[in-house]
Symmetry: D2
Subunit: 251 residues, 4 copies
Amino acid sequence: MTSVDINCDMGESFGNYIVGNDAAIFPYITSCNIACGAHAGDPYHIEKTIDLAIAHGVQIGAHPGYPDLQGFGRRVIPMPKEELSASIKFQVAALKGLVESKGHSLAYVKPHGALYNQMARNKETARWVIQAIKSIDRNLKIMGLAGSHIKDIAQEEDLVFVAEAFADRQYELNGELRSRNLENAVLTDTYKAADQILSIALYRKARTLNGQEVSIEAQSFCIHGDNPKAVDILKHITHILKENGINKMHF
Amino acid sequence: MTSVDINCDMGESFGNYIVGNDAAIFPYITSCNIACGAHAGDPYHIEKTIDLAIAHGVQIGAHPGYPDLQGFGRRVIPMPKEELSASIKFQVAALKGLVESKGHSLAYVKPHGALYNQMARNKETARWVIQAIKSIDRNLKIMGLAGSHIKDIAQEEDLVFVAEAFADRQYELNGELRSRNLENAVLTDTYKAADQILSIALYRKARTLNGQEVSIEAQSFCIHGDNPKAVDILKHITHILKENGINKMHF
Amino acid sequence: MTSVDINCDMGESFGNYIVGNDAAIFPYITSCNIACGAHAGDPYHIEKTIDLAIAHGVQIGAHPGYPDLQGFGRRVIPMPKEELSASIKFQVAALKGLVESKGHSLAYVKPHGALYNQMARNKETARWVIQAIKSIDRNLKIMGLAGSHIKDIAQEEDLVFVAEAFADRQYELNGELRSRNLENAVLTDTYKAADQILSIALYRKARTLNGQEVSIEAQSFCIHGDNPKAVDILKHITHILKENGINKMHF
Amino acid sequence: MTSVDINCDMGESFGNYIVGNDAAIFPYITSCNIACGAHAGDPYHIEKTIDLAIAHGVQIGAHPGYPDLQGFGRRVIPMPKEELSASIKFQVAALKGLVESKGHSLAYVKPHGALYNQMARNKETARWVIQAIKSIDRNLKIMGLAGSHIKDIAQEEDLVFVAEAFADRQYELNGELRSRNLENAVLTDTYKAADQILSIALYRKARTLNGQEVSIEAQSFCIHGDNPKAVDILKHITHILKENGINKMHF
């Protein structure tokens, strides 16, 4: 029986600023990427989110990003290797320690936003980040864009790679995500998002805007928690997966 | 043969803002308290400082403080238990992970500035902080003001307490540090600072301004690294200790 | 014909973190207190809020607070006079300059959160803040808690004082706001909130929980924009005021 | 009689982090560029610096930068026009208000670090920044790199442009500054720095590394205050200028 992992970004609130609807989303996901206080999150919200994840039996990953609260980690901050590397180590170490203090373990790392994209675009950045993660814990898995060179670099560094696909993003023929600068980059239709997961999970294929098939191999599917319809989408996906005999289970 | 530990705050630089003269001080100390990125320090400078400590064979402690870069951790930031606790856990976990990533271990935690004083003043704060540290690693020792209730609380929590005395601060008859708001609170004379260490190390006694004796039992002595004469003071202390057959060695 | 001013805190979003529902609230208020980038707000959101205020013909006030994004200005940050004063001047000057760059003028200053309360509690703090505001522009009015000593200090400094009452907070017999630590501190009932405005506007009286009358003289009424029902409350208040022949108009 | 303006970056300290030696430098300069709290500076240090400038009769300019304390404004932060523009307006307005609150006026704006370079490299950025400055006060002069397109854009916007040359940077044959990535980019020799000012001030010419002449027209000369020898350089320059009958005077 096929099974899929559903992940969501969590713990991104800061002080009085609340984002996402973490408590409502946890029942429907199998992995969560928890912010590490650099692009978002503060220790209080991070710890609360870890507690929620444990209470719901959800697998925990670290979600480090560029140290840029103002830009929410969505801007590339130019940093030399030593600075970027130290920042990633610091973020992952903090999250790992918090998780372990509760008798659980950190399973993986999924870089955030501009860092995620920069790693898919630039091999050097990908290697710096992966080596930084490895130096903290060589058992951590690396989650990154399905079909990218990140897989190769993770494997060269002897880390397990987890390919991620997006339920609610349109794919192009070359397997890349359709740029958000173009129309129809995001699938706003709950049914289409569920179909895309199903198609990738069962047949390892997605469809382009023109209806052409493109191969996508993925172990985890991302749902955007800041989408106001996130809970509806998750409920529908859960339903559809069940109907098709697919189990939700973390990798 | 008696031995003493000399500790100094380190790793407090932030981006382009450099404080202290870490590289020059490391040869003369046996323990270092490394900032954790909340009141001071950034991941790059923190990692560099850990590397320096290891290169000099200096024992490493975490130096968490109130999350207040603007105030350098010298202001009491009102925080409910959950927020303070999460912040301490986050800071200590990050430092511990960075140190362990280099095959070394974190030995102790010395809270910084306003938090250090607040713990000596307020039992509840002391307990919150100590429990937070314990949740990250129950082998971490707690460094705090000699003669304070922090010792009792650490022991109630089954953590080892390390009493700290100050080489360059004037003691009062009740064993407290003379307030910085009063005259003669700081010993600016290199020789007097060395004498005070010697007297506490050999006879467990310091002298008040009036020349009265006060009992001080301490396992570690703090030197303020932001003092422009810090290196001179450390050289002199090293010399005096040697002359008196006292070994510098970390606890 | 009696008229009342309705004010609301605005422009408190920061980067990707959005708070309040500014666009929906503007049509119903006559004055807005715009964050100044220290406790909340960033230049982009501040400028956008100024533009909205101008488009709706809403009078603009500056809303400076303790420089404490993490605490959203709700914690007292211990600051010596020179630091607090410089921070207030900086915040008010920035807002004033932005408003004037659009051919409009800044009408008043309402301090935020912990600073607002600290001024009502501590005369020295109140004087420091008022003198700082005055140094930037002596035509700025000071908005503060009705019945507090802030009025006297503003007048001693030759600044106009605007007394503020709260639509949705319970008053005590001494004219103070019922502490948020006690039950029934907040009026969650839209009708009661409107009644309280009406009673203060028409008769200069509010009622305590026991039904006793307490005198309150106010020129402006605050509505909390982060209340999810803020727009409903504002609509109802607008309706009730109209029915009672009271005009909404800024002071 | 020829006269030259000598400018220096000032007010860049933040909380406990002190940079530069502002008090020692003020007697030797005629203009100062004061940080505006985004890349460096806090309100307290900014106000103190304004007071020092006024006490020394030194002309005041605003020194806005990318909002990036961690990077000290030396990294290009990707910002859309509206965000960059609002940030510049906010910074300049704050400084202008503080200066005017003391009965003085803000004379000019010199963007800082990566923003300064980005404006010289990218016309669009230059126009955004200049229009933002103009919206705050159309009497503000724009200081920028001598020989760059910034002059044209300032003039198109009807603002006065002040061309800046560097005493301690090597020029290339095309009039650009030799890249800091290459050897000999910085003139560390006090005498050579003074000679370069003299040559540009008297003959509008500098010399390349090969000894070729290059035309440089400048109204102001920058001295880097974070250079530990800054005061020595300034003393020597003052002496040399006097010997050559050149007056130090702000533009």
